[in-house]
Amino acid sequence: MDTWLSYRPTDLLMFSPGSYARLFERLNEAIWPGHWLLAGLVLAMLSLAASRHEAAHRVAAALLAAAWGWVAWRFFGLYAEINLAAPWFAGLFVIQAAALLLLAWPGPGLALEPPAPPRTRHWLGLGLALWGLLLHPFAWLVAGRAPAGTELVAIAPDPTAITTIGLLLMARLPRRRGVLLRGLLLTPPAIWLAISALTWWALLSA
C-alpha cells in the first residue's frame, strides 16, 4: 500500500487543534486588559473613517495599518513557535500594513462614505465588517470556546482580515485606478483567509 494513502489532511499540519486554540487563549490572557484599549482604537478608527475630514481618513487608514502590523508581530510571533510557516504569514500581514500606510499617505485614507442609495458592494462590505467585528468572536463562543479563547479583531488574524475586506468594500476610493487599488488592498487579506480556511479544513478533519 502506498504510504501516501495513509495520510490525512491533519498530517499536513505540524500542530494539533488544541495547540492552535491555545494560541488565542494565551494571547488574550497576555494582553488583558489591553482589550479595552484595542476596542477604543477600533472604535476611533471606525468613527474617523466615517467622518468627513480627509485628515481623519488618513489616521483611520494608519490605525488599520497598525492593527495589521500588531497582528503580524504579536499573533504570528506566538504562532511561529508551533508553525514553521508562520513568519511567511507574518510577512503577508506586514505587506498589508505597508499597503494601508500607503493608502493613508500619499493615498486618500480610509473614507466610509457610501453613496445613497448604497450599492451591493457596500452592503456586502457592511455585512463582512459586522461579521468580523461582532459575529466572528460570538460564533467562537457558540462553538464552545471559552471567552478567553475567542478571536477578536486587531488580535486574531481571521476577524482582522474579514473586517478589513468589509471596510475596503465600503471605502470610497479615487475614481482613477480605484478598482486596481481596491483589488491590490483586498489581495493579502483574501490570501490569508484562503490559508486560514485550509488550516481549518485540516484541523477539523482531525
Binding site: M1, T3, S6, M14, F15, G18, R22, R26, I82
Partner: protein, 317 residues
C-alpha cells in the same frame, strides 16, 4: 546519556524499580522511576541490541505534533508528565527533529523538569537543504535537548543526504555522535534508502511500518537485518488513524489469551516481534495513552503464527 554504560544504567534502573525508586538515587544515577509504586510494572523490558552491542528498549516515543506546544506553560507541564510516564515504564528512545517546530525544546524542557539525568536515548535529525549546516544542526539539537551529546542523528527524509551523511559519519568518527541514520516516511523513497543502506556505513534506518502498512517488510527490514542496521518503525499507528479504527472494535479474547492486553499493545507488539525491528516509536500527548503504549514493552511477543492471525484479524476489520 550517551556516555553512560547502557547495561549498567539498565541494571540500576531495574534495581531502582525493585526498591521503589530509592536505590537508583542512592547509587548516584540521580534519576529514578517515580510512579512505579503506583503502577507496578512486571517483567523485564523487551530490548533489542544496537549496532554497538548495547541494548535498547523496543518501544520508543515520537514527538511529531504531540510535543510541538511552543512556550505554553500548561501544555509543557502536561507533556513533561507524558515523558515521565514513558521513562517510568522503562522507555529510552525519544525521536524528534528540527522540522517538528518546538518539539525538541519541549523535550529539553521536560528533561530538565524531570531532572536527575534520566536514561534517554536522544534521537533527532538533520533537516536542512544546506549540506554544510550539519554540525550546526547537531549543536542546535544538543542545546535544545540540554544534552552534551546526541545518541543518534538521522538525515530527515533524505534532504541533502549525501553531504549530511558525510559530515555525520565524520562526527561519529570523532566521537561527537554515537550513531548515524537516515529516515523516510514515503514508500517511493525505499529504493533510494535501500541503496544508501548498502553503500554507506549507517547505524540506523527509520521508515513507516505498521500493521496497516507493511511495505517495509518487503526489502528494508530484510536488508536491515542482513546488514546489522537498527530499524526504527515510525507512524506505528498511521498517525493515529489505525488505532482510532481498531479501538472501535472489542479487543479479541484470543489476543488476551496470547498475553496481549490492549489495542496499543497489539499493534506495537506485532511490529517489535519482527526480528529486524529495533524500536517502534508511537507518539502521544496523553499520559493514559503513553501507559497503554508502554504495555508493549513487557510480556510475551507473538510468534510468526500469531502475527499472521493478528494481520488477518485486522484485515477483516
Amino acid at each position: 546519556m550517551a556516555e553512560t554504560d547502557l547495561s549498567r544504567r539498565r541494571a540500576l534502573q531495574l534495581a531502582a524499580a525493585g526498591l521503589g525508586g530509592t536505590l537508583g538515587a542512592a547509587l548516584g544515577s540521580g534519576w529514578a522511576p517515580a510512579s512505579l509504586g503506583a503502577e507496578p510494572l512486571d517483567g523485564e523490558c523487551i530490548t533489542r541490541p544496537l549496532p554497538d552491542g548495547q541494548d535498547l528498549p523496543a518501544i520508543g516515543m515520537g514527538t511529531w505534533i504531540t510535543f510541538n506546544v511552543g512556550s505554553d506553560p500548561e501544555a509543557r507541564t502536561q507533556r513533561t508528565e507524558v515523558l515521565r510516564a514513558f521513562l517510568d515504564a522503562g522507555g529510552e528512545l525519544v525521536d524528534s527533529s528540527p522540522m517538528y517546530g518546538s518539539s525538541e525544546a519541549v523535550v529539553g524542557h521536560a528533561l530538565a523538569e524531570i531532572g536527575g539525568n534520566p536514561p534517554v536515548f536522544a534521537a533527532s535529525k538533520v533537516w536542512t537543504p544546506d549540506g554544510d549546516a550539519t554540525a550546526e544542526q547537531v549543536a542546535q539539537s544538543e542545546r535544545r535537548w540540554g544534552l552534551a551529546r546526541m545518541d543518534l542523528m538521522q538525515v530527515h527524509n533524505l534532504v541533502a543526504w549525501e553531504p549530511h551523511l558525510e559530515h555525520l559519519l565524520d562526527m561519529r568518527e570523532q566521537g561527537r555522535l554515537r550513531f548515524v541514520g537516515i529516515t523516510t516516511s514515503h514508500g517511493r523513497r525505499h529504493a533510494e534508502i535501500e541503496r544508501i543502506m548498502r553503500e554507506w556505513p549507517i547505524d540506523f534506518v527509520q521508515a513507516s511500518y505498521s500493521l496497516a502498512n507493511r511495505e517495509a517488510e518487503e526489502r528494508l527490514l530484510p536488508l536491515a537485518g542482513e546488514r546489522g542496521i537498527a530499524f526504527i518503525a515510525n507512524r506505528p499507528f498511521q498517525g493515529g488513524r489505525l488505532i482510532d479504527r481498531v479501538k472501535r472494535h472489542p479487543f479479541p479474547d484470543w489476543a488476551l489469551e496470547a498475553g496481549l492486553t490492549n489495542w496499543a499493545d497489539f499493534l506495537l507488539k506485532f511490529l517489535i516481534a519482527h526480528p529486524a525491528v529495533t524500536c517502534a516509536i508511537p507518539a502521544t500527548s496523553r499520559v493514559e495513552h503513553m501507559r497503554e503504549n508502554m504495555t508493549a514493552l513487557r510480556g510475551p511477543l507473538p510468534d510468526e503464527r500469531l502475527r499472521r492471525r493478528m494481520a488477518e484479524h485486522l484485515r477483516a476489520r
